[in-house]
Symmetry: C2
Subunit: 346 residues, 2 copies
């Protein structure tokens, strides 16, 4: 494609950042992200970015941080002006009587609206994808939401029955076969089908979201030294090895590998992603390498969605201490995924 | 202490490196260690170092590697000459008909003798401590040894009933509450007594081996997010928290901390060591940070013993590929521990 042709193609619709809980650190990291991007244009993501949230809250946040930003309302189809923070105001509630770290019914309802509006605008083609700032379980409950978290809500809104979290960073990508479960139950929860599904979704994402033609996936064992021939556990033999050998999809799948070395090998470039058997097996190495710039990518949704890898951090909200590194990484990654999917006409 | 005084004090007895399995990578990393130390004297450890092993094997190894070294026999009480590799020959067997990677009855018997001689010479005051090169389970079995590994053998030889492994590096030190066990059994193996014993031995080692007066010990939880108030497991409430609150020894003990962040915090300097609940919880982050230069320190023995953090690597023995980094780190650490213990008159 030459530059003349590419000039004639309409730019893709913008990415949206949902503001998350209005009294968490979402507004602060959004303000810091735009400030840093405007100050140093090389920090700008490859796509236009708007916010789905509340103008009042962002103005107040910028004011408190002493950051001067041009914040303006945005409507679907509007161009996104450079040096302007374009905001789609999801509701008419001014949210002008808030205390940092203290969610109310109004903030909780608003927070859910941002997500719903994001999905709606993406499905109408007005947005390319969404990057979500953190929400809290306590706020979801307060608003009467039936969902335990973001991911389940997005799955429901998009009618997706199969979805998984990938934790993604430059050095390591990890997909979990089981997530929020007691350690003692992991063994009984692992099945050949579940592991194969996890492998298949990881391969699919690496191919279509990350442009990796023949992904090399390492599957971790469950027990120390992979059970050392059954001496310390046998799930490798009864479940993980059969899952790998029975998988007949694309990609180069190997394992089970000893858990204490496979993440080192993957971080060194031997694999494109690791399928981990349980939460901490994957999250301990991931957070060690990507504590500040880790990104959560939801696999299996029909829309592009990345998320910051941290919570609402109510304890430090409003103090100017929040680090926008994970948001920046999540925006960059969402833009990359959009571009890979667009290249494939997805 | 001024320099005149320190000159008049007898130097401590040397440290010994046991050669490990003669057909593993032990001889190669020993030859490389001395070569590097002699070439660049700033690599020399703070104490004299001898080898307990076999002169023939070391000469052959150096020859194959094209490394010129002055290798001479050493006997207890002999001074250790600079630029000379001093070897205590543990047996009369010439071991001159060996194949790399192929242990025999002769190599297996010799390998055990090095360890026994090390303990004997330390207990007679002829050596300060020992740094062990790797042995293999298969060789132990071939020689009819009842021990599954080095540590159990050393515990028996020194009459130690309480002992534990610490994995130690510059950025992270980890002690394990359980070791080679199936993941599904960890929950049933954890007890308040075991965790408290682990805390106490960690504190003792940090104080007396590492010169850390008031060690800050982080105790990891077992479940994701420490069970999130019992939603994903309750061992934190029933076992780990009571172990911490009931511990009344020295040190600053805190926890249980979420497993996926505590190692990041410890590596960042917030803690001097982490007590991990199971093998991979501790070894995944440790190997990610210290894959090449990790050291295994045995706590609870009356003698100083450190070990390389890798195996015999029969598959690459004799190929010149072995990395002496872990041996160098193990020697430096043993010398440091000897010096801390000597300072306390232990």
């Amino acid at each position: 494609m030459n530059s003349e042709n590419s000039m004639s193609i309409d730019p893709p619709p913008p990415l949206a950042i949902t503001m998350g809980c209005p009294v968490g650190i979402g507004p602060e990291i959004i303000v810091k992200f735009f400030h840093d991007a405007f100050v140093d244009q090389k920090n700008l993501p490859a796509m236009a970015v708007i916010v789905i949230g509340n103008t009042n809250v962002l103005l107040r946040t910028a004011g408190e941080l002493g950051i001067s930003l041009n914040i303006q309302p945005w409507h679907p189809g509007d161009p996104v002006k450079p040096d302007v923070v374009s905001v789609f105001d999801s509701d008419d509630h001014p949210l002008d009587d808030l205390s940092w770290g203290k969610p109310t019914l109004a903030t909780s309802t608003a927070m859910i609206r941002y997500i719903e509006d994001g999905v709606r605008l993406i499905s109408r083609g007005a947005l390319s994808g969404m990057v979500t700032c953190p929400i809290s379980k306590i706020s979801l409950q307060r608003a009467g939401s039936p969902f335990p978290g973001h991911t389940e809500m997005l799955a429901s809104l998009t009618g997706s029955s199969r979805y998984r979290m990938m934790m993604a960073g430059k050095r390591l990508k990890v997909v979990l076969a089981t997530i929020h479960e007691p350690l003692a139950r992991i063994s009984s929860l692992l099945t050949i089908t579940e592991i194969q599904d996890c492998i298949a979704m990881t391969v699919d994402s690496l191919q279509h979201d990350f442009g990796c033609q023949n992904p090399r996936i390492a599957v971790a064992g469950l027990n120390p030294h992979c059970g050392e021939n059954g001496m310390f556990g046998s799930e490798e033999e009864t479940c993980i090895t059969p899952a790998i050998s029975g998988y007949d999809g694309p990609g180069e799948i190997s394992g089970p590998w000893p858990p204490d070395t496979v993440f080192y090998q993957a971080a060194g470039g031997d694999y494109d992603a690791v399928v981990a058997m349980y939460h901490d097996q994957g999250l301990i190495p991931f957070k060690l390498l990507h504590f500040k710039d880790g990104v959560n990518v939801t696999l299996g949704l029909p829309i592009v969605r990345t998320s910051v890898d941290h919570g609402t951090a109510y304890d430090i909200a409003g103090q100017g201490l929040a680090d926008p590194a994970s948001l920046k990484a999540a925006i960059r990654m969402a833009a990359d995924i959009c571009s890979h999917r667009a290249g494939e006409g997805r």
